[in-house]
């Protein structure tokens, strides 16, 4: 099993969700995060006081999948989240040791 962690631009969420549904993914966890990379922040000015806002709002998706699905999920994610502009985000893949569905007690791939 793998855990796919994707940092994406917030407005891309619906597109990404639809693309993942098409490759058989029916669940994920989404969090609102702040971050920066090569994309610079913006400047706000309040009565002459200038503030450089370095952190930009992003979304962090966590998707637990069976290892066989990995290449299809990576492809769907990257394609749907891409705009071509700086700040599109990153995808990381981590191994998952165990998984449990709390309601039924199913484990590992049956829990996904």
């Amino acid at each position: 099993m793998k855990m796919v962690i994707a940092i994406i631009k917030p407005f891309k969420l619906d597109e990404v969700r639809e693309a993942l549904t098409r490759v058989g993914i029916h669940g994920m966890t989404v969090g609102e995060v702040k971050g920066y990379g090569r994309q610079k922040g913006h400047t706000e000015i309040y009565r002459g006081a200038e503030y450089a806002v370095n952190f930009l709002p992003k979304l962090r998706l966590e998707i637990a999948i069976a290892s066989e699905q990995l290449s299809r999920v990576m492809e769907a994610l990257a394609t749907s989240a891409r705009t071509g502009q700086i700040g599109d985000g990153k995808i990381f893949v981590l191994p998952v040791e165990q998984a449990v569905r709390i309601r039924t007690g199913e484990t590992d791939v049956d829990a996904l």
Binding site: E44, I45, Y46, R47, G48, A49, Y51, V53
Partner: protein
């Protein structure tokens, strides 16, 4: 001897409370004037709660929003009580040059139909409470300079000392029959008494307390400017009562004052917006509301003395000069006047009081006591400008020096500034045990 005195004391005290000293016997309560002034009183009280509360709170950081509102609330209830008990009497009774009398302490002797010689067509109780709303907002304004770092206990003590030692004397000198008014200083609704006074006091406070932690390096961006915009709306509308009500009657002078006020606010907002757009590339909402308040504060002393188009011009000048004060002067002099009380109210009050002496049109202030009215520089009376400068100088020196002393005393008593860790955690939690979720 002592026994006899003690027996008589309660009787004489009660008699003194019930006796009504003969105030203006020839004055008469007018229904229209009274109705308007009741409305104006409500409008001006609204300027503090919730007007100023929202205006200020929207501009501080989230962790200090409730504490900032607490200051407007506390100013309202504390100043109200003090004003009725002793403030009104000291400010608006008698004809002493330096201070009033204790004739109306605890409002004693103020019967339902009594009239003050200073407002001959409305009940004295109404005049008293109208003036109360001015005292409230002036005290509440000062806190803006030291937002995010003043102890609540220190603020409460400040309300008491500053009201009695700074606001009351200046109000008496300009409006209550004191030496500035008799010298000819004109101030329709509070350029000196309210705005310059609060502005200079704020500057003194900013100097005494020092800058916020992280000033110049941290992000101190406003929590929610929508609150500030709503507050501005309430202030703007409320100002119709602030300036219009200063005519103390439902008459054409009140109407003219309202028109001048509104045009000054509009011109101030437009000018600040234009200058900001030109110099910084974008017209900010904060700039628009700041310009409006700058225009309103600046027109305040002149509103019942000038023509509407002069009000518009004063608004343009206000927008420009206050924009300069808040963006260039403040950075140059290096003080942390958090909510620009000096930059907007101090500079605005100064400018407006001076311009009142420039633009005053005699016909508008003509009265039976003064048929020619007060004429300014442009009507051939340059002396008025000098008189205005005199009033400005006295206000500036008294407010600045006394505020400094008062703060030093409060600092010795309870401490002025919150502890560093409380400042970091936020005043809502550390001072009041509450937080926005």
């Amino acid at each position: 001897m002592t026994r006899a005195f003690l027996r008589l004391a309660p009787a004489t005290t009660i008699a003194a409370f019930l006796a009504s000293p003969a105030f203006a016997q020839d004055a008469k309560i007018d229904g229209a004037d009274t109705a308007w002034m009741i409305g104006a009183t409500g409008l001006v009280l609204m300027m503090t709660i919730p007007g100023l509360a929202l205006f200020y709170a929207g501009m501080v950081r989230k962790k200090n929003v409730l504490a900032t509102m607490a200051q407007s609330l506390a100013a309202t209830f504390l100043v109200s009580i003090l004003w009725a008990v002793v403030g009104y009497s000291l400010a608006f009774t008698g004809d002493g040059a330096a201070i009033g009398t204790l004739d109306r302490v605890f409002l004693k002797g103020m019967g339902m139909d009594d009239i003050s010689p200073l407002a001959k067509t409305i009940p004295e109780s109404l005049f008293m409470i109208y003036q109360m709303t001015f005292a409230i907002i002036t005290v509440a304004l000062v806190a803006g300079s030291v937002a995010d770092r003043l102890r609540f206990s220190a603020f409460l003590l400040f309300c008491v000392f500053w009201l009695l030692l700074v606001y009351v004397p200046i109000a008496h000198w300009v409006w209550g029959g004191g030496f500035l008014g008799t010298a000819g200083v004109i101030d329709f609704a509070g350029g000196t008494v309210v705005h310059l006074n609060a502005g200079v006091a704020g500057l003194a406070a900013a100097y005494v307390l020092g800058a916020r932690r992280g000033y110049g390096s941290d992000n101190l961006a406003p929590y929610d400017l929508t609150l500030a915009v709503i507050g501005t709306g309430l202030l703007w509308v409320g100002w119709f009562g602030f300036n219009g009500g200063s005519a103390l009657g439902a008459n054409s002078r009140a109407a003219m004052a309202i028109v001048s006020t509104h045009l000054a606010a509009s011109a101030g907002a437009f000018t600040w917006m234009a200058l900001e757009w030109w110099t910084r590339g974008k017209p900010s909402v904060l700039g628009m509301i700041s310009g409006a308040v700058a225009g309103l504060g600046t027109i305040t002393p002149a509103s019942g003395f000038v023509l509407p188009m002069q009000g518009l011009l004063i608004g343009i000048i206000a927008g420009a000069i206050c924009f300069w004060a808040c963006t260039w002067l403040k950075l140059k002099l290096g003080y942390d006047d958090s909510l620009d009380v000096f930059g907007v109210h101090g500079v605005g009050g100064f400018t407006g009081t001076l311009l009142a002496g420039v633009f005053a049109v005699g016909a508008i202030s003509a009265s039976p006591e003064m048929p020619g009215g007060v004429q300014g520089l442009l009507e051939g009376n340059p002396q008025q400008v000098v008189t205005q400068l005199y009033g400005i100088a006295v206000t500036l020196v008294w407010s600045g020096a006394m505020t400094f002393i008062i703060l030093k005393v409060i600092g010795a008593l309870v401490g002025l500034r919150v502890r560093q860790e409380d400042e970091v955690m936020g005043l809502d939690v550390s001072l009041h045990g509450e937080a926005l979720q």
